[in-house]
């Protein structure tokens, strides 16, 4: 009897859960309403079967439960009943399959004139490429990939010169125009997925896959990697911003082409040295930092990282949070840099200063810290040496008190939570894996040994 009640309660409870559940598909933002319709059809048919079979079973268990003198009926087979059930099931299955195949046919046929945009996946970030004025994406190959050519653009293909390279997790798309996303990976499998668009597709190193859709409303949507790609898989996030046509054009106009990126003159460290005079007061003449001034060591840091941080300070991406009082100081200083080329010269000079060992101030257990560092090492390198390809700066040689403060800032969203901080958001997720003061001290004591 308990079982009969349980079965009925589970069936009705499942229906109730379905009706009351606040967890359901995100509001659709693409043309794929037919995908949702296919799901609805399947949901209704399977829902009816679920209720019917289980309630029938509950009734059978109730009606034919063992009682004294109860005897079972002897009926090995019933050809007619079995044939009928088979036929009805086949019809139900066909009713679910047919719309699925029709919609799939639409998905495999990309409409004529769809814009082609490339998505490039790599551990653990997204980049995007537009074909530029000629409407053609230039040739790419893995063998051309280098720090100054992250997309692997072929130097010999003129079609690539006007390609617009967006080295950022954020992509903009115009509303109501069909797009064919060409999906490419540099290293392992990834998967480009936007829940509101309904479609997703894996990205494979060595080939180009695709998925198409038409964004139907403006807004900001999460891009998620949905194929396991290593330990920071869960932090491989991006954003698609669907704009009106004008806004999209304005955004695209602000991006640079491959030719422009190549033509940029090299930074001049000698010019940077003159600007560095302003920095000396806090960071010291050799850039070794100063605990009393709360200034970190910057000597020998990677120029690309220094450039990015200086830009973030100037743009209010870093140092603008009210909890970051030291960052506010730096933001004010960065505001005095005259131009982007001055900024690059300054970064080049600082990068040319010889790095020095740091003075440990923390007393953690480096052995336990080594365990925590496994996670960090995936991006920052096993020796904490940094890795440009992963946008991860060098950690070895940095003062532990500074790193500790930054880890806390990341944890608390004081740093890295700004929408435009492309790579900081990963650190906000990673810093949360350290649950207490002691873990942070252990970790940084290990970093001190690197």
């Amino acid at each position: 009897m308990k079982l009969v009640i349980a079965l009925i309660v589970l069936v009705l409870g499942s229906l109730l859960f379905h009706v009351l559940s606040p967890w359901w598909f995100t509001p659709l933002a693409s043309n794929w309403d037919t995908v949702d319709t296919t799901i609805d059809i399947t949901l209704y048919i399977t829902g009816v079967v679920f209720v019917a079979v289980n309630l029938f079973m509950a009734y059978a268990v109730y009606r034919y439960r063992h009682r004294p003198a109860q005897k079972a009926h002897y009926e090995p087979e019933n050809k007619r009943l079995e044939t009928w059930l088979t036929a009805i099931t086949a019809v139900g299955v066909a009713a679910m399959l047919a719309p699925g195949l029709v919609v799939w046919a639409d998905f495999t046929q990309v409409p004529e004139g769809a814009d082609e945009i490339e998505v490039l996946g790599e551990q653990w970030q997204w980049s995007y490429r537009f074909p530029g004025e000629d409407g053609k994406l230039g040739e790419v190959a893995t063998r051309y990939v280098a720090p100054d050519n992250p997309f692997g653009m072929s130097p010999g293909d003129p079609a690539g010169a006007d390609d617009i390279l967006v080295r950022s997790n954020e992509l903009h798309l115009p509303v109501d125009r069909p797009v064919k996303m060409l999906l490419r990976s540099k290293d392992v499998l990834h998967d480009f997925a936007v829940p509101q668009f309904r479609v997703k597709m894996d990205m494979l190193p060595g080939s180009v896959t695709y998925a198409w859709f038409t964004p139907t409303r403006t807004g900001s949507f999460d891009v998620l990697c949905m194929e396991l790609c290593g330990i920071a898989h869960y932090a491989m996030r991006g954003r698609v911003i669907v704009d009106t046509e004008e806004d999209f054009k304005a955004w695209l106009g602000g991006q640079t082409t491959w030719a422009e990126q190549r033509a940029r003159p090299a930074a001049d460290p000698a010019a940077g040295e003159r600007q560095y005079a302003t920095c000396v007061a806090c960071h010291g003449p050799e850039g070794r930092g100063n605990l009393q001034m709360n200034a970190p060591a910057i000597a020998g840091m990677e120029a690309w990282y220094l450039e990015r941080q200086l830009r973030y300070y100037r743009q209010g991406v870093r140092g603008a949070h009210e909890g970051d009082t030291f960052g506010a100081q730096m933001a004010a200083m960065a505001g005095t840099i005259a131009s982007d080329s001055a900024l690059r010269n300054l970064a080049a000079y600082v990068a040319s200063l010889p790095a020095a060992d740091s003075e440990p101030t923390l007393d953690g257990d480096p052995r336990r810290g080594a365990g925590h560092f496994n996670t960090c090492g995936a991006c920052h390198g096993a020796r904490g040496q940094g890795n440009h390809a992963l946008q991860a700066p060098r950690l070895a040689g940095q003062q532990d008190w500074y790193l500790k403060r930054q880890l806390k800032y990341f944890r608390e969203g004081i740093r890295g939570a700004h929408q435009a901080d492309n790579y900081g958001h990963q650190m906000t997720m990673m810093a949360r894996t350290l649950q207490n003061e002691q873990s942070i001290d252990d970790l940084l004591s290990y970093v001190n040994t690197l």
Binding site: V35, H66, L97, A193, L204, T375
Partner: protein
């Protein structure tokens, strides 16, 4: 049938004399079955503990310092692989297959007892290699149970130095063990059935195990070659699955390989693997249902053909795991069609189980509770398969928690319901003692209701679009706070279900000594294993004379019979007429 004449003599049997030959290097299928079963349950408990750790992270993120993103992936990977291969496959085939095949077909033992013994020891070796990966530098692999390259053998994935190598070696060794066992099961069913045991008189348990073993013998080689090729890619620098790529900023030497090729090979094994687990469960639950409903299984012939048909179809549906893998999209039409066709014979099985209950005489003893629990969970898991098998619906749902919920329902919870039904049902035969009914019922209710509380809500996280294999889901705009509370409640249910398995373990070990003594054939079952001269059966199973079979395995509540079951070895009386398959005409 020459072999039956030979088998009637007890002379040629391996005759255990000492403790070591009786319980350690044993060639008796019953002892080997217990060895397989205990090993599988032990390693399954490890996997259960891993799932608890994993759920702690998902339910209560930012709480546990030792669960790093890498460790989380290691838990996920080892939990999945252990549960699918080293627990379910090993327990269903190595455990129940070994125990039941000779007894149910009326044989003295497997036809190759020595190889059967080797099969267990090689399986144990594969388990030890697998467990060793917890203790090597870097720990076990965290590549996900599907082990997709290139990621599985590149930096950035946990266990890339030792863990992945041990995993691949362990799988290869497991396949060797499975092949030795599997050849035995198939040959025994084909060659060692006793007089009168025609194929169409075999209990469905045997049909399920037999068909699953054939699937295994055909499917595991695909996994073996992929494991060997990936080992070569990892250790010898070949490029079977590895295209030219840049790993963490560094160009590697690989060139020209295909990651999708691995996926095809893996799923050519992986999909039949689902049925390697499901078919024995289908078979065993049929027998438990018929016995405890005191009624013949409804539509026996249809049930047999459904098992065979499902087994055959399971080889042409593999790429439904790969709809969004980047393979040619035209494959989607073919694989969606074959996949949904498989729903028809599967649905027939469900109807026939339910119709077996109809007009029965249902004894709701513990094995029956689990069997009915199986029908409920299997219907649920089967129906959600119709979502994922339909290529279009896979676009939003693949790689989300809907997939996790679906496959746990259909090949986690439901086969485990059958395993529990089977253990409660056959424990008296194996040990001569009954399991405690009260503990058994408590175990059933906590497990049945608890698992539903885990997996029903999980589907809805999938509808929402929450990705699987994420260490943490914070930092997205589309996932509401309430999803975090849902995750916490799923974790609480999972911990309760996990802890309630202690009731089962206590019951199994306590009853071994203190359980009520089992009467002969306590459930009044018809099949041969309950008709042995001794309970538990002695070495050689049948005493001097093999049983002869005169009827199918489902003569329950036959009109006019004195009791409500007639054993298979009971001769047919002159006036008996039957319309049963394989019955007297």
């Amino acid at each position: 049938m020459q072999h039956t004449a030979l088998a009637d003599q007890t002379l040629e049997l391996h005759d255990p004399r000492s403790f070591v030959t009786k319980y350690i290097w044993s060639q008796d299928h019953k002892v080997i079955a217990i060895q397989y079963g205990l090993t599988a349950v032990f390693v399954g408990l490890v996997a259960l503990a891993l799932s608890a750790l994993m759920r702690l992270q998902l339910g209560f993120p930012d709480t546990f310092d030792f669960i790093t993103p890498g460790a989380y992936l290691q838990f996920v990977t080892m939990h999945g692989m252990i549960m699918v291969i080293y627990l379910l496959t090993a327990l269903l085939l190595g455990g129940f297959g070994n125990y039941l095949i000779p007894l149910m077909v009326g044989a003295r033992d497997m036809v190759f007892p020595y190889m059967n013994m080797l099969s267990f020891w090689v399986y144990l070796l594969s388990v030890l290699i697998l467990l060793a990966s917890f203790f090597v530098p870097g720990g076990p692999t965290g590549a996900g149970w599907t082990l997709y390259p290139p990621q599985a053998i590149l930096e950035g994935t946990p266990g890339v130095d030792w863990g992945i190598v041990l995993m691949l070696v362990s799988l290869a060794v497991f396949i060797v063990a499975f092949t030795m066992g599997g050849l035995n099961y198939v040959t025994t069913v084909l060659q060692a059935r006793t007089r009168g045991m025609t194929l169409m008189r075999m209990p469905l348990t045997i049909w399920g195990i037999f068909t699953a073993t054939i699937l295994g013998l055909l499917a595991f080689p695909a996994l073996l070659v992929s494991a060997i090729m990936m080992l070569l890619d990892k250790l010898a620098g070949t490029s079977f699955f590895m295209p030219a790529l840049v790993s963490l900023g560094e160009s590697l030497e690989y060139t020209g390989g295909s990651p999708v090729l691995f996926q095809h090979l893996f799923w050519f094994f992986g999909h039949p693997e689902v049925y390697i687990v499901a078919l024995p469960a289908f078979g065993m639950v049929s027998d438990v249902l018929a016995c405890h409903a005191r009624k013949n299984i409804f539509g026996y012939r249809m049930m047999v053909w459904a098992i065979v048909f499902i087994g055959a179809l399971s080889f042409v549906v593999w790429a439904h795991h790969m709809y969004v893998s980047g393979m040619h999209p035209a494959f989607g039409f073919f694989f969606a069609t074959t996949t949904l066709i498989i729903a028809v014979p599967t649905a027939i099985k469900v109807y026939n189980w339910v119709l077996t209950l109809w007009r029965g005489n249902i004894h709701l003893r513990v094995p029956m509770l689990f069997a009915i629990g199986f029908i409920f969970t299997f219907v649920h898991g089967g129906l959600t398969g119709l979502f994922l098998g339909n290529v279009t619906i896979d676009l939003p749902l693949s790689d989300t928690y809907f997939v996790v919920a679906h496959f746990h329902m259909v090949m986690g919870v439901s086969p485990i319901m059958v395993l529990f039904a089977a253990i409660y049902h056959w424990y008296p035969l194996m040990t001569g003692r009954m399991l405690n009914e009260g503990l058994g019922k408590a175990h059933f209710w906590l497990t049945f209701l608890g698992t539903y509380a885990i997996y029903l809500p999980m589907h809805y996280l999938g509808f929402l679009g929450v990705p699987r294999r994420y260490f943490a889901i914070s930092g997205t705009e589309f996932i509401p706070e309430s999803a975090m509370s849902l995750n916490a409640s799923i974790t609480v249910s999972a911990l309760i279900v996990g802890a309630s398995q202690l009731l089962f373990l206590v019951n199994v070990f306590w009853s071994l000594r203190h359980g009520e003594r089992a009467p002969r054939n306590p459930w009044g079952a018809t099949s041969l294993e309950w008709q042995t001269p001794d309970v538990p059966p002695h070495h050689g199973n049948w005493g001097p004379q093999l049983p002869a079979v005169y009827r199918w395995a489902y003569d329950y509540s036959v009109p006019g019979a004195d009791q409500d079951f007639i054993p298979q070895n009971h001769p047919v009386s002159d006036d008996e007429r039957s319309n049963a398959p394989g019955g007297p005409a």
